[in-house]
Amino acid sequence: MDKIGALKGEAIRPAAWERFTALPWPSKTDEEWRRTDPAKVPLGEVELSPDPASLRVGWEEISPKLIASGVILTDLVSAKKQFPELIQEYLMKSGAPEGLAKFVALHEALFSQGLFCYVPEGVSVELPLRSWVEIAKDRAAVFPHGLIIVGEGAEATLVDERRAPGGVHGPIVSDEMVEIFLKAGSRLRYVHLQKWPPQVVELFTQRVLLEKDAHFLNLTMGLGSTLSKANVETTLTQTGARADLLGLFFGSGRQHFDFQTLQDHRAQATTSDLLYKSALKDDSDAVYRGLIRIARQAQKSDAYQANRNLLLSQGAKADSIPMLEILADDVRCTHGVAVGPVDEEQAFYLMSRGVPEAEAERLIVGGFFEQVIQRLKLKELEEGLMAQVSNKMNKGDPKE
């Protein structure tokens, strides 16, 4: 990789660059990469640079009232100039992720642009905030970096989209990281809606730290990209923290999703409830590996994990690997896995009312995802998100 050697001088954070070059390229024999071929990440075919212009970050303007109350929604480059003390306090302070080491190092070395969101102590943002990150360059590696901070007792909903409306040319590698801080008693509903075009190979890391009694409600929705390998880590650092972790993946063509999650309970009476679902058409496939870790001091914690996969064709495939690491003895913990085709009895029931088979399948898949989306408990979001699902369902189906 000559290009990588030549880039050395350009790295924004030389120590991370050193780490990146020192780490070996992932191997198929690493547990983490057994089900996703690292050779499919075309790093050698794209331009590596810390250029902030390779990304376009956008958001719906927030009201003057919210601005006056101190809410900030802007891009990272602007935030660095305007709010250096916040950046200083939080950027890259969410702790070292436990996965995707090589790509986390690369990200750290080169990222410069992304979304910045700050909700100050005690402020409730009623309406959902909306933001997006778009790819503005062809044949490039891009490094979106999200930084979201919700102050003590504050509340907000953020719908954060990944897309490339004009399309892109050539391969793209998106090596992204999102850091989220929930201060004591705060509440954040965060929807990460991944709609990258099919040229994109994505590496995605999310690190979330929850303080006392904070509540994180997360929906990660994977619809786009050709390959998406993600590591979603949620750390419950103080008593009473709660995380509801939802995932929804809809594969078609030869799409490949590989998701790893960590529910990291570090304090007493913390709760995490994870539900990840995928529906897979054509030759798409999904891998899910989820670890529940409950530290010795995290007594009276509850942790749930469920992964359900609906295989919509002979060629579709799903692997599911739940893992537990429980050091406390007074906890409640369950996990469950299901992989299978559309239920024959459900299809028969719908067809017995005149609904054609393909339409029955669409209803069942819609219902399968509706059960995830309704857990957001926000009607005004549900419809829009279900429309995203239907859109994916209806396109790329040559039979219809």
């Binding site: 239920d343 024959e344 017995s352 209803l363 069942i364 399968f368």
Partner: protein, 252 residues
Amino acid sequence: MTTPLLEIKNLHVTIEGKEILKGINLALEKGQVHALMGPNGSGKSTLSNVLMGHPKYQVTGGEVLYQGRDLASLKTDVRARAGLFLAFQYPTAIPGVSVVNFLRTAMKSRFGEAFQPKEFRKEFKAAMAQLGIEESFATRYVNDGFSGGEKKRHEVLQMALLKPELAVLDETDSGLDIDALRVVAEGINRLRGPQLGILLITHYQRLLSYVEPDVVHVMMDGQIIQSGGKELAHELEAKGYAPYETEKAPAP
């Protein structure tokens, strides 16, 4: 002679290699109500599922004609659009799919061009009201967590909206309290008419006193062993199936 609405001729059906229906014969005319009675496990639900084209049963002999048409090659949804309807004994839950969304899709499928989306809400609400179903029911998931009685009302609701020409009601009366039974029976009677044939599967005389059958059939071990008028149902109620057991016993 006119073509019967439904004609079952010497129907043999197996499931997982086991023969359940062993030569069923039955003819039902338009506008008629036939009751089908028989002990548990005699094959009544098997027959209704086969009429609807459930993929897990194999028809190994005989035929089923609906409006003179052989059903064998028709898929379930095609049968339904042709006017066949089955109110299930055990309706399947479909979590995530709301009743209103399901019924809109079903009616669109059943009536095609003739479906009027603008009229749907009104029609749907009126049909619910007639069956004493609360409006909040519309947003619940299909059969998901429904009580026994709610499931049965929901089946009759669908029948009212989909306007079938042949309805098979598989124990639509079981699990209903007295009031619900009356509401459901009234619902069935409202739909009864010269354009609808009904095959009413039941264990109880109770329903038949509301919905009077033209013919009563008795099914035992995969065969219809006797047919008669409505008095046959009274007889069964009084004596049970024991007399038929002995009648059948000497068979080689």
